[in-house]
């Protein structure tokens, strides 16, 4: 069986495979477009509750456990929880801004948590842009130094970035920074609203031209790296981007994946902030099996797939996210502007690529 078939099985049979845990919303940076709902109140999960959760996840054969925030390292028990996750055999990913990942702490993360991957945010190719987004002077220089240190420690690191109006002019430079560090860079072309629906982050949405430039660059780099074969990346597959073989659901939200906030609220996905239970009141297995809200979400992912079918063969280029739709349009079915633009621009770039290939293949005839 291939991995794509395993993921398809997980979607179809509702087998929890990947869980994202937001340990805290505290953060040592102050990004303007942060999507966290910083006004959310609640009783944070205790260390013992996390231990119980992790034990349940182990019993449920969950493979992937992502620790994020806020800044996950700002949680006082980060190392203890990370070490427990390691003991239980999860594939641990850590999503961090990288600001504190240096020296003794970086070594302890390596030795005690042994993450499969640390995903670190890069906001620009220059200190001016990066620090403007993080609103912490010096954060760019410190990040570069920390990234070099993480590499020297042998940690596996990937860079993540969101394309914004502030950094779109230096996207080539951001890839150059990543290349100089020997790290992969994944750029998300969409700024999303805050989890509470607040639209302030959208003020820095990248321009249409900026997104087009990003797509062209991604195709160009993909072509160079893969000997001419370029695949369109979509974000709704497995943790490694693997897409399942066809199933009747649009995505694995609530079927193979879940997200949990610092106060124990459980969501079908980090982007679909529709609470389906709370860990202060119920165990995760009980929520997974018995939540009416979760059952509804699973049905909705089927309906989303059916409705998107009218979009035809190019529908996957939308990279449609029901969670984003719900927060932007109030319904998980409605196409939102960023998805529509994404398809238009990807089709444009793919047409350019096709045209370029035809020109190349016609060269011998011209000669």
């Amino acid at each position: 069986m291939s991995l794509s078939r395993v993921i398809a099985t997980a979607w179809r049979e509702n087998l929890l495979f990947s869980v994202l845990v937001e340990l805290t919303y505290r953060c040592n940076l102050d990004c303007f477009f942060c999507y966290n709902d910083l006004g959310l109140k609640g009783e944070p999960l205790t260390r013992e509750e996390y231990f119980r959760l992790f034990a349940e996840l182990r019993e449920m054969e969950v493979l992937n456990l992502t620790l994020t925030g806020g800044e996950p390292l700002a949680h006082p028990d980060f190392l203890v929880l990370g070490a427990r996750a390691r003991e239980l055999g999860f594939v641990v990913r850590v999503k961090s801004n990288g600001h504190a990942l240096r020296g003794e702490l970086a070594r302890r993360v390596r030795d005690e948590v042994d993450p499969f991957l640390i995903e670190v945010s890069l906001h620009g190719a220059t200190a001016v842009t990066h620090d403007r987004q993080t609103r912490v002077p010096g954060s760019f220089d410190r990040l570069l130094a920390n990234l070099r240190e993480l590499r020297e420690l042998g940690l596996r690191v990937k860079l993540n970035s969101t394309l914004t109006a502030w950094n779109e002019g230096e996207i080539e430079g951001m890839f150059a920074v990543a290349d100089s560090l020997g790290l992969p860079l994944q750029v998300d072309p969409e700024v999303t609203p805050r989890d509470d629906g607040g639209r302030e982050p959208l003020q820095v949405t990248a321009s249409r031209e900026g997104v087009l430039r990003l797509f062209r660059l991604q195709f160009e780099r993909g072509r160079a790296a893969q000997g001419g074969q370029v695949e369109v990346q979509v974000a709704r597959g497995g943790d490694d981007g693997t897409l399942p073989t066809p199933v009747d659901k649009h995505c694995g939200a609530g079927s193979s994946g879940l997200a949990i906030d610092p106060y124990g609220n459980v969501y079908p996905c980090v982007q679909w902030r529709r609470p389906v239970g709370n860990l202060h009141r119920q165990g995760l297995r009980e929520i997974w099996r018995g939540s009416a809200g979760l059952a509804e979400v699973r049905d909705l992912t089927v309906e989303v797939k059916e409705r998107l079918a009218v979009q035809g063969a190019g529908g996957h280029l939308l990279n449609f996210c029901p969670g984003s739709a719900a927060i932007q349009a109030g319904t998980p079915f409605e196409l939102y502007p960023a998805a529509v633009q994404r398809r238009e621009l990807l089709e444009q770039v793919m047409a350019e690529e096709e045209s370029g290939r035809k020109k190349k293949t016609s060269l011998p005839i011209v000669r």
């Binding site: 069986m1 291939s2 099985t9 054969e61 969950v62 493979l63 499969f116």
Partner: protein, 93 residues
């Protein structure tokens, strides 16, 4: 690694992470960032590779679980253990 015999003791390498999904094992070797999917027998072997039981013990356990020619089973398990060791999933226990 030297030749694997029924007395060999093997264990999963420390960077191997795996889970059983519908009887099959999804395996990630962290250092190589490789994902493998093993069938039911492969998943059983991975479970048995605890650094305490010998490969002969694995064969006995699997013979009790699966019907068929025990000689062929022993041959297959030895070959499979060698494959997993070669793939970097198992090491001497």
């Amino acid at each position: 690694m030297s030749v694997i015999t029924p007395t060999t003791v093997l264990k999963r390498r420390s960077d191997v992470r795996y889970r059983l999904i519908e009887g099959e094992a999804v395996v990630l070797r962290q250092s190589a960032a490789e994902v493998l999917v093993l069938n039911e027998v492969g998943a059983s072997v991975l479970e048995l590779a605890d650094g305490e039981r010998s490969v002969g013990d694995w064969i006995d356990a699997l013979a009790a679980e699966y019907e068929g020619d025990s000689t062929a089973l022993a041959r297959d398990v030895l070959a499979f253990a060698a494959e997993l060791a070669e793939a970097g999933l198992l090491e001497p226990g």
